[in-house]
Amino acid sequence: MEAFFEGIGRLIAQYEQQNILNLIYLVILMIFVGVELISHVPSVLHTPLMSGANAIHGVVLIGAIIVMGNASPDDTLSLVFGTLAVFVGTLNVIGGFVVTDRMLEMFKKKPKGEKAS
């Protein structure tokens, strides 16, 4: 048990070194924000919302861009994988937002949304 806590302590120290502890705070806060945002949504909007969230996690594209930026030009395998990662990441972003927009387009001219579940 003691070893376990020691291990955790070492991990935290390591994280502190890498300035990652800040990020962990950020994670915890964002979890609450995410829960808050979704909890009071009428079920009508669940599908578009899922689709919108789907587009947002396309932010992984940024990671793909960074990884490509770090890849050395003679590491062919990394370049191939990286290009593919950028491509599918873009698919996720663009496809996600366009599909969501198409869904929501249909909600436009309704007379005042009433009742939330």
């Binding site: 991990l11 390591q14 890498q18 990652i20 990020l23 950020l26 994670v27 964002m30 979890i31 995410g34 829960v35 945002l37 979704i38 909890s39 009428p42 079920s43 009508v44 909007l45 669940h46 599908t47 919302l49 899922m50 919108g52 969230a53 789907n54 587009a55 947002i56 996690h57 396309g58 932010v59 940024i62 990671g63 793909a64 960074i66 990884v67 490509m68 930026g69 890849a71 030009p73 370049l79 994988f81 290009t83 593919l84 950028v86 491509f87 990441g89 873009t90 996720n92 663009i94 496809g95 366009v98 599909v99 869904m103 929501l104 249909m106 909600f107 436009k108 007379p111 009433e114 579940s117």
Partner: protein, 475 residues
């Protein structure tokens, strides 16, 4: 010097939160989506052209731009061309792409780390791969792979390319595979001194693929929305792993936001279907239990003719339409709206009863019916419409099954027992439009069809509705 990169990422992060918030309200939903898209564009531009020192063109820019342009063109075409009914599988497919992207990033980073390990210039007293770096890399790889494979299976299942597939002690095997993944990933960390990817690394990928398959294969279509939503949040977590790796706050915030919002959305859906998330997680969902529920098929079914139904509805004062997946597959939403208009012109009060999980995704029916210009306030959610069935003359069930199955209330052995349903049996007359007597998505019989008040009108939903429209016109 202006911190353009930070500003770009900040705009991105804030707009995700604001956008998601706006998407939660019908009035601002569309704008919210655009806000989030704008923020994404800002963040991407920041990543492409700036670093913490200012303007800086990233390496390999030409490859990146080609990939982005190709992705934009193909993504737009796919998203624009897809039929409204096929929306759920499209979302699943795009989700899988995000997972794949996360997994590929991890693979490259792992290669990168190994490369660093053999670099003679590195300080020998520093550990090559710290736990702090290893966890996000390997977690991104595992979660991204599971999400990718699972989403592709879900996509295949929803468009009918892949059937259900179950085998005994599925849950135990799933759990074993999950533990094995973690074990192998741990062993892989021990191998970081190797100059090449070890067997453990490939084994981790392989097992994650297997888990992705096992995770989604046994799950019946009724639970598919839950699974897609869950995989959606998985991909969010995978993206957040990238955020940790690069200490990139926009990835972290976007990823965690989707991870937590997606999980809550999943839980909300589970509640609507009265399933525990745990059951879905270990692959128990999909109604393979029960078994005794087929005993109800004692009675006989009454088949009705279109003419009778048309007369019944035309002279009714109140009709409630219960749409289901059958409406979606038959593309019958426009005919349905036409029928509604005809009946309204005859002075009949027509409403739609929307079960939270009708169709393949929550809100699926709303989207479909909104497409054919059905007024928003005619779509009534379950808890508001249920008291109205008692005063309703005719209930028209169009391709819905499990959501009107009384077994959810009466038969504790039924897999859907406890799921809230639409109380259609309270109405004076029930007409069910259905292709055949085949069981619904949960794979169980529906006693409702044997109810004395219930008449069956067999055929494709669109053809049947068209028939009704013609009959009502002719009367």
């Amino acid at each position: 010097m202006m911190p353009y990169m930070e500003i770009g990422y900040l705009i991105g992060s804030v707009s995700f939160v604001v956008g998601l918030k706006m998407m939660g309200q019908p009035d601002s939903a569309r704008k919210g989506n655009l806000v989030a898209a704008f923020g994404m564009a800002m963040a991407v531009i920041a990543a492409l052209f700036f670093n913490s020192q200012g303007y800086h063109v990233i390496n390999n820019l030409s490859y990146i731009l080609i990939a982005i342009v190709a992705g934009t063109v193909i993504g737009t075409l796919m998203a624009k061309r897809v039929q409204m009914t096929a929306m759920p599988e499209m979302v699943s497919l795009f989700n899988g792409m995000g997972g794949l992207s996360a997994a590929l990033i991890s693979i490259i980073e792992w290669r990168h780390l190994l490369h660093e390990a053999v670099n003679p210039e590195r300080m020998s007293n520093m550990p090559v791969v710290t736990v702090g770096m290893y966890i996000p890399v390997i977690a991104g790889l595992i979660i991204g792979t599971i999400s990718f494979v699972g989403s592709i299976v879900a996509w295949g299942k929803l468009n009918g390319k892949i059937g259900d597939f179950r085998f005994p002690s599925q849950q135990i095997i799933n759990a074993v595979v999950l533990v094995a993944i973690l074990g192998v990933a741990y062993l892989n960390y021990g191998e970081f001194n190797a100059t090449q990817s070890s067997l453990y690394f490939y084994l981790t990928i392989g097992l994650a693929v297997v888990y992705g398959l096992l995770f989604v294969f046994p799950i019946g279509g009724a639970d598919m929305p839950v699974v897609i939503s869950l995989l959606n949040s998985f991909t969010g977590v995978a993206a957040a792993c990238g955020g940790f790796l690069y200490e990139n706050k926009v990835m972290l915030m976007g990823g965690v936001l989707v991870g937590s919002a997606g999980t809550i959305l999943t839980v909300v859906m589970c509640k609507a279907m009265n399933r525990s998330l745990m059951n879905v997680l270990i692959g128990m969902a999909g109604g393979n239990g029960g078994g005794s529920s087929s005993s109800a098929s004692g009675g006989s079914v009454r088949e009705v003719q279109g003419t009778d139904v048309a007369i019944m509805m035309k002279y009714a004062s109140k009709v409630i339409i219960v749409p289901g997946y059958g409406l979606a597959v038959a593309q019958a939403q426009h005919v349905c709206h036409e029928l509604e208009n005809l009946l309204e012109a005859e002075g009949v009060d027509v409403k739609y009863a929307i079960h939270p999980v009708a169709g393949r995704m929550p809100g699926h029916m709303n989207v479909l019916l909104a497409e054919s210009n059905v007024e928003y306030d005619k779509l009534i959610e379950m808890e508001h419409i249920n008291p109205e069935f008692a005063t309703t003359d005719v209930v028209l069930v169009v391709g819905a099954n499990d959501v009107v199955n009384p077994a959810a209330k009466t038969d504790p052995a039924s897999p859907i027992y406890g799921m809230p349903i639409l109380d259609v049996d309270q109405a004076k007359q029930i007409v069910v439009l259905k292709r055949s007597m085949k069981a619904g998505y949960a794979g169980i019989e529906n006693e409702l069809f044997f109810h004395p008040k219930c008449g069956m009108l067999f055929g494709d939903a669109k053809a049947s509705l068209q028939k009704l429209v013609n009959e009502v016109k002719a009367l």
